[in-house]
C-alpha cells in the first residue's frame, strides 16, 4: 500500500519557495482538469481524517472535496468539542488513535501551537487547518496562488492588507509569505486592530523586513495627492545576528513609494475572539469600489478569505477586479495539489531537512512556562514539556525566549547560572554570559527574585546584612497570627491552612500546631507550589486530599512584596475549588505592592528600599538549634554598578 511521507505542514515557513512553485504548477493542472471534467486517481486508496476542534465550513469541505477529487476518501468528526475532547482525551492521544484509521490528518484547533503538537505525536502527516490566532498555511497557499495567477511574479508586488490584522491568522501567514517572496506590504488596520508586535519583530529580526501601517483615510489621500505618506521597504532577506547592538525596529526604513497597488486583501473582524463586539465593529472600515478609482489603484485586485460580514461591499461582486470567489474556488485545486505534491515527494523519496534549532535545555525543574495564555502548552500542560529557543528579537538589552509551540516570545527579567546558583537581573552586561550558559545548558530563568530564591539561588552579589527578627520574635509573631485567625473565624475548627512553598509552607505547619493547641482540632494543611508549570496543591500530614471547597482558608507566605506571588496562589486555589473565605497571613510585609492585595495578619511591617531584600530563614527539627530562625535584611548590589565602579 502506498504511504504518504511523514511531512507536516504546520506553518507556511515549512515550505520552501520552489516547493510552493511546484504546488502551484500542480494546482494549475488540477484547476484545468476540474474545468474539463478530467478525473484523478492519484490518492486512490488513501484516507484523510479531518479533526476540527473549532467550527469551519469552507476549509473542511474544501479539504474533503479535494481528497475525494483525488480519488481518496475522507473520515471526519464534525464536532470534536462534543466528542472525545469533551471526555477529556488529550490532543496527543486523539491524533495517535486517528493515525491508525487514516493516512493523513487535517487539524483545526483554537489553541496556538496545537498543529505542532498534533504533528509531533501523529505517526502520519498532519496539515494545519488553522491553530488559534497563529497560522492557516493552506489558506495562504490559496491567497498566494490567486495573487500569482492574477498578477504574475509575486516579487515586487505591492499588497494593501486591510481589516483585523490582530487576530486574523490568515493575515499573519500571508504577511510572512509575502515577505519571503519579496512583495511589499501596506498594513491598513481597521478599528485599531494592528499587526501584533511579535509579527513585526520577527519580520524585522529574521528578514530585515519592515512595512508601514496607515489608516484607510491616509491610504486614500496618499493616492489622491502624491505618495509621500507611504513608506515601503523592498525586502532584503538576511539573517540578523543574535544580540546585535541595535534594536532592528528602530532602523529608519528606506523610502520607496510604490508606483501602484497590485492588490487589496480585506479581512473580516474576528468577532469570536472579541468581547465587546458592537463597540469594535463601530470603528471597522468598509471597503467599496471608490478605493479602486485612482490611477494607482485601478489595476488592483480585491481579495478576501471569506466569509465576509459588512466590511466588503456587495456591489463589488460583479467587478472583474473582485477575485474573492475565485480565491475560494481555488481552495480545492490548491489542496489537491498539496496532497499530490506530498505523494510526489514520497515517490522521489525526498528527505526534508527538518532540523530546527535545538531547544535550550534547562537544568532546573520545572522548566519555565510560556507566558502566552492561549498557548497549547497551557491547556495540554499535563504531558507537553515547554521548550524554548532564544527569540530573534533578543538583543543586548532584551532577553526573550520563543515558545517552541505557539512561537510567541516571553520576555525574561531574571536569569540564573545553574552551576554557581547565582541569579541576576538581566542587563546588557550579561548577554555574553547568557549565550555561554545556553551553550553549556546552565541557564536558568525566573519570573521574580522570589522564585529565584525559592529555587535556592543567591543574588550575584549581596551587601551587608542585619538581623531584623530573632527566633523568639518570630515565635511571638506566629502566636499572634494564630490567635487572630482563631478570633476571626466563625468556626475555628473549620480553619484550613495553605502555605506557599517553601517557607510559607513551613510557617503554615507552625500555625497549624499553634491553632491545634488552642482549639484542640488539628486543621488540615497543604503546601501550594506556584512556580513553574501547573501549580500544585499538596496535602501535608499524610492526608490523601485537601479540600478547598467551602473552607475558611488561611493562606500563608513568609514575605509579601509586590503581591504577585499571592495573586498566583489565589488563582491556583480557585482552580481547586471555591473557598468560603481566604485570610492572608505573612510574617513580613515589606511594602511596594503592585496588586490590590492586603494581608489580614502581618507579623511585622518592615520599611525597605527597593534595593533591599528580606530573607526568612527557618530551621527544621533538629537543625533549629544549629541554625536558629531569623529574618535578615540585606541590600542587593546592582551588578551593573558594581562592575562600572573602579574599586
Amino acid at each position: 500500500m502506498r504511504r504518504l511521507p511523514k511531512y507536516d505542514l504546520v506553518s507556511i515557513e515549512d515550505l520552501a519557495i520552489p516547493e510552493i512553485e511546484r504546488i502551484f504548477e500542480l494546482a494549475d493542472m488540477f484547476a484545468e482538469n476540474l474545468r474539463d471534467g478530467v478525473p484523478s486517481t492519484r490518492a486512490g486508496g488513501l484516507i484523510m481524517a479531518t479533526l476540527f476542534y473549532e467550527p469551519s465550513t469552507r476549509t473542511r469541505l474544501s479539504f474533503e472535496s479535494a481528497m475525494n477529487r483525488l480519488g481518496g476518501s475522507v473520515i471526519s468528526s464534525a464536532d470534536m468539542q462534543a466528542s472525545s475532547a469533551a471526555k477529556g482525551e488529550s490532543l496527543a492521544d486523539t491524533v495517535r488513535v486517528v493515525s491508525a484509521y487514516a493516512d493523513l490528518i487535517v487539524v483545526r484547533h483554537p489553541c496556538d501551537g496545537a498543529a505542532r503538537v498534533a504533528a509531533e505525536y501523529a505517526p502520519v502527516p498532519v496539515i494545519n487547518a488553522g491553530d488559534g490566532s497563529r497560522e492557516h498555511p493552506t489558506q495562504t497557499l490559496c491567497d498566494l496562488y490567486i495573487l500569482r495567477r492574477k498578477k504574475g511574479d509575486l516579487k515586487g508586488l505591492t499588497v494593501a492588507i486591510c481589516g483585523d490584522l490582530k487576530f486574523g491568522r490568515t493575515v499573519h501567514s500571508l504577511i510572512y509569505a509575502l515577505a519571503r517572496f519579496g512583495a511589499n506590504i501596506v498594513a491598513v488596520p481597521y478599528g485599531g486592530m494592528d499587526v501584533p508586535d511579535y509579527v513585526l519583530e520577527r519580520l524585522a529580526a529574521e528578514r530585515n523586513y519592515k512595512f508601514s501601517t496607515v489608516t484607510i483615510d491616509e491610504l486614500k489621500s496618499s493616492f489622491a495627492g502624491g505618495l509621500d505618506a507611504l513608506y515601503l521597504t523592498p525586502s532584503a532577506p538576511h539573517q540578523m545576528a543574535l544580540f546585535t547592538s541595535e534594536n532592528p525596529l528602530e532602523k529608519v526604513p528606506e523610502v520607496r513609494p510604490p508606483a501602484a497597488l497590485d492588490a487589496f486583501y480585506v479581512t473580516r473582524l474576528q468577532k469570536e475572539r472579541l468581547a465587546d463586539k458592537d463597540r469594535a465593529a463601530q470603528g471597522y472600515g468598509h471597503f467599496d469600489v471608490r478605493a479602486l478609482r485612482t490611477s494607482r489603484t485601478q489595476e488592483a485586485v480585491v481579495m478576501h478569505p471569506l466569509p465576509r460580514t459588512d466590511e466588503l461591499a456587495y456591489e463589488l461582486d460583479t467587478d472583474p477586479r473582485a477575485v474573492y470567489f475565485e480565491q475560494a474556488a481555488a481552495g480545492v485545486p490548491v489542496r489537491m495539489a498539496l496532497v499530490a505534491w506530498m505523494l510526489e515527494s514520497a515517490a522521489r523519496e525526498v528527505l526534508r531537512p527538518q532540523a530546527p534549532e535545538p531547544p535550550i535545555s534547562f537544568k532546573h525543574e520545572p522548566a519555565p512556562r510560556c507566558a502566552h495564555p492561549t498557548c497549547i502548552t497551557r491547556s495540554e500542560g499535563s504531558y507537553l514539556r515547554p521548550r524554548f529557543r532564544l527569540a530573534s528579537g533578543s538583543n543586548r538589552s532584551r532577553l526573550a525566549l520563543r515558545c517552541g509551540f505557539c512561537e510567541r516570545d516571553s520576555r525574561v527579567e531574571y536569569v540564573g547560572h545553574a552551576t554557581s546558583h547565582r541569579y541576576y537581573h538581566f542587563d546588557e552586561n550579561l548577554s555574553g554570559y547568557v549565550r555561554q550558559w545556553i551553550e553549556e545548558g546552565t541557564l536558568a530563568v525566573f519570573e521574580s527574585v522570589k522564585e529565584a530564591e525559592e529555587r535556592g539561588y543567591e543574588p550575584y552579589k549581596r551587601g551587608p546584612q542585619r538581623e531584623i527578627m530573632n527566633a523568639a520574635e518570630i515565635a511571638r509573631a506566629c502566636e499572634a497570627i494564630a490567635a487572630q485567625a482563631i478570633a476571626d473565624a466563625a468556626d475555628p475548627t473549620a480553619i484550613a491552612i495553605v502555605g506557599v512553598v517553601s517557607r510559607g509552607a513551613m510557617l503554615a505547619m507552625r500555625l497549624r500546631d499553634l491553632i491545634e493547641a488552642q482549639t484542640g482540632v488539628r486543621p488540615p494543611c497543604a503546601a501550594l507550589d506556584v512556580y513553574g508549570g501547573d501549580p500544585r496543591l499538596r496535602a501535608i500530614d499524610g492526608a490523601e486530599t485537601f479540600n478547598v471547597d467551602g473552607r475558611a482558608i488561611v493562606l500563608v507566605d513568609d514575605v509579601i512584596n509586590s503581591g504577585w506571588t499571592v495573586q498566583r496562589a489565589m488563582t491556583a486555589l480557585w482552580q481547586h475549588g471555591r473557598p468560603a473565605a481566604v485570610k492572608l497571613a505573612v510574617l513580613i510585609d515589606r511594602g511596594y505592592r503592585a496588586v490590590p492585595i492586603r494581608p489580614n495578619y502581618v507579623g511585622r511591617n518592615i520599611p525597605t528600599t527597593r534595593a533591599e531584600r528580606v530573607q526568612v530563614r527557618l530551621g527544621i527539627g533538629a537543625e533549629t538549634r544549629k541554625n536558629p530562625d531569623r529574618v535578615l535584611l540585606y541590600s542587593m548590589v546592582d551588578s551593573l554598578r558594581e562592575r562600572e565602579s573602579p574599586t
Binding site: A275, P373, M570, T571, V582, L584, P596
Partner: protein
C-alpha cells in the same frame, strides 16, 4: 428585609467622587507611562469611561479604556461556558509593562476583583494593577483592598447597595437597602 431605601450618594456626590479619584490616580501615577483603565462590565466600565473623561478634563492625559467581563471566571457557577481566555474582554492595547487601573462599582466580598486579577494576569504582564471602586462595603471575604475609594459604606450583611448610573439606569445614585427594583 423591609427597610426603606436610603440615598447614600446623589448625582453630585458621585461626580465629586469620580473627580477626586481621577485626581488621586493622576497624582499617584505621576510620570508613569503606560497608564490604562479597565472597567469591569457593566457599571465598572461606565465608571472607567467617566474617569477617563475626568483625567482628560484635568488636562492630565489621554488614557486608553478597556472593559473586562469576568462572568466566565466567576466561581459561583453562573458564568458562561467556553474558554474564558477568549471571552469577555475588549482591551485594545497591550498590558505588558503597563500600569492598569481596574475599576468596579462596589467592592464587597472581593470575589469579582479576584476573578478580574486572574483574567488580567492571563492577558499579559502588567507592571502593576491598582483598584478603584465607587463604594467599598468592607466585609471582604478575600484579602483584596482598593487603592482608590469613592465612599466607604458599612451596610449590614443581607442589605443591598445599588449603584445606579445615568448611562445604564437613567439616573446617578447610590442607594442602600430596599427591594430590588
Amino acid at each position: 428585609m423591609t427597610n426603606k431605601p436610603a440615598l447614600a450618594l446623589d448625582g453630585e456626590a458621585i461626580a465629586r467622587c469620580v473627580k477626586r479619584i481621577a485626581h488621586e490616580i493622576a497624582e499617584r501615577n505621576d510620570g508613569a507611562g503606560n497608564l490604562a483603565l479597565i472597567g469591569i462590565v457593566r457599571r465598572g466600565a461606565t465608571l472607567a469611561e467617566r474617569l477617563a473623561q475626568a483625567l482628560r478634563q484635568d488636562g492630565e492625559r489621554e488614557v486608553p479604556v478597556g472593559t473586562l467581563d469576568i462572568s466566565s471566571y466567576r466561581d459561583d457557577g453562573k458564568g458562561e461556558p467556553g474558554d474564558p481566555r477568549l471571552l469577555g474582554r475588549n482591551i485594545p492595547f497591550a498590558l505588558d509593562g503597563g500600569h492598569v487601573i481596574l475599576i468596579d462599582d462596589v467592592l464587597y466580598t472581593g470575589r469579582t476583583v479576584r476573578a478580574a486579577l486572574t483574567a488580567l494576569a492571563d492577558l499579559g504582564r502588567p507592571e502593576s494593577i491598582q483598584l478603584a471602586v465607587l463604594v467599598d462595603r468592607g466585609q471582604h471575604e478575600i484579602p483584596i483592598r482598593a487603592d482608590y475609594v469613592g465612599k466607604n459604606i458599612a451596610a449590614p450583611t443581607g442589605q443591598r447597595v445599588y449603584v445606579r448610573l445615568a448611562e445604564i439606569d437613567g439616573v446617578d445614585a447610590v442607594v442602600v437597602g430596599g427591594e430590588k427594583s
